[in-house]
Subunit: 334 residues, 2 copies
């Protein structure tokens, strides 16, 4: 028998373990709204990301991986504000009440939700094409918020992890990128390990929550890289009326990216690709040592890639010392 | 030129007036997340509803009306918790960046958002079929929350406004209802005024925020009627392990409903139709006079339609005094 909406909510969301107890969650699924008790010394952070089948992930993708990607990209926005995950809500439309799909989706969500102590507290489910709207709530002390504003000329620009994997993963999955045929894997270069790494980079990006909280005392501004470094760093530049100078040879790439792509393609993927979900932060010179030490303690790569400069433009210095303008263009969703 | 995602956000959402200042909203659109400062004496209420074109509203519907319906059904969930609107977020997917559609949608949202002092503070926009996920945030004092739990045997059951208009409106719009051909307008019975009324009932349901806040001190439980009285009252009955007895002849119907439909169809629309967005509350006998006075002060109809009884079943008493079981079935979204 096809389960009703209420049966789906009960079986896969309310009683699947996803709604585990969390301090501050007074009431979760089961009434007309959830009730949250926000600590008096914290601000509530909210961010919503919508993922559409065929646009943000391939049709017929593993529902557990789709779930993890959907929640991870939202948690990445909390990292971008240096917030601690609090809870999330889910607006799910799907073509039919498919038990196997729902079980996979729910179990994928559960794993990540537990890992980040971020229970499901409500949402809506209805019929429609597969469309996943997640809103995450986070908590942050007012003096520890990481924002896009705050960068000053002379600040150093850092990124976490490696860049470009998101777009290279799209190519490795055989999916279209905005680069068209020019972003193709070098034939035979990718090992099975490389492909597994890229697959995980796409479906299971690691939200940089712990790193962001460690860095928060030392950064002047920050953002997560969801639409490519050029576009997202561009948001920081515009928010502060400043320019940027990137050492392109310093951009961190994964072994998989280097094996599968030319350096030029790695750079394009990093600058314009999107889906990396790494942090980009700016740090005043006097705070760089402290920021680097804080990052090192988390074990996550933290690479200085450039500096904030006067003006409003973004430039890159190539390995040969030549400088070129970098269009602060982001991945276009339309 | 097709506007980019960022241009759409700026033009139609951030700078359209939708993001007006609101006490407690520290940061709205423009960073990786919104920042809210929740008053220490209030709980935060959150509710999310997703509307899909072709499922929840007709294809090609007026975007301003679609917007108002999408926000109104969410505000109705805040009313169901007796919460004051705080702010909302929007996850919008649409097939193409259509300026005329976006302008209409934005202006429709603005009117309702202003009326309820509930600014837009963030969200996401992307390509996809037309799908509107809205999450509303509200504020409520812990001792003033209206919940589904709390109803006791002997409590009286009330509803606001009139019932059945949502389903009858669907029929009047020529759209399919779950009742099939049996829910048809009596030929020639509907005047243009009746059709206008029903059209507004569907697209512009009035969230019962003020009524809910007025009633909150006196009710034992409450819910909003989005899936039909039988189903939504059924949630209250199950939450409390009690039964209900409805005086079917007391169900309030609008003039338009009475003109367009037989009494039997009005009753079916009220019990099983959905989309009414009226409140259903239970009130202890000793509080009935106070509740009725509080409701009267708001000018909104408030009708006693039955009582909570022992057991777990819902029954209805017909005009002739005969009693029949009412299946506590709700509108099925799958």
């Amino acid at each position: 028998m096809i389960p009703s909406e209420f049966e789906i909510i009960r079986r896969y969301f309310a009683e699947s373990g996803l709604q585990f107890p969390r301090a501050g969650v007074t009431l979760g699924i089961g009434d007309d709204g959830a009730l949250l008790n926000v600590p008096a010394d914290k601000l509530l952070v909210m961010s919503m990301d919508v993922l559409v089948e065929g646009i943000h992930f391939p049709p017929q993708a593993d529902p557990a991986l789709v779930a993890q990607r959907a929640l991870a990209v939202n948690l990445s926005d909390l990292a971008a504000m240096a917030a601690e995950p609090f809870c999330f809500t889910l607006g799910l439309t799907l073509p039919a009440a498919n038990n196997a799909w729902l079980a996979g989706f729910s179990s994928g969500l559960l794993q990540l939700a537990r890992a980040f102590n971020c229970p499901l507290v409500g949402g809506d489910i209805s019929r429609g094409l597969l469309n996943i709207a997640i809103q995450v709530q986070g908590l942050v002390a007012p003096d520890r918020v990481m924002r896009r504003s705050g960068a000053k000329v002379g600040d150093q620009i850092y990124v976490s992890g490696s860049l470009g994997d998101g777009a290279i993963a799209l190519a490795s999955l055989g999916l279209a990128t905005q680069f068209g045929d020019s972003m193709q894997l070098q034939p035979g270069a990718a090992t099975p390990q490389h492909l597994l790494y890229l697959h995980a980079a796409f479906y299971q990006p690691e939200p940089r929550i712990a790193l962001a909280q460690a860095l928060a005392p030392y950064v002047s501004s920050g953002i997560d890289i969801s639409d490519g470094l050029a576009g997202d760093l561009g948001h920081i530049l515009r928010a502060n009326g400043v320019g940027g100078l990137l050492q392109l040879s310093a951009l961190p790439f994964s072994d998989a990216a280097r094996a599968c792509m030319s350096v030029s393609n790695c750079q394009r993927a990093a600058l314009y690709g999107g889906d990396d979900y790494e942090l980009c932060v700016t740090v005043a010179l006097a705070q760089c040592a402290a920021a680097e030490a804080a990052a090192a303690a988390t074990g996550i790569a933290f690479t200085r890639i450039g500096a904030i400069v006067a003006g409003t433009a973004l430039h890159g210095v190539d390995a040969d010392g030549s400088t070129r303008a970098i269009e602060p263009a982001a991945f276009r969703h339309f």
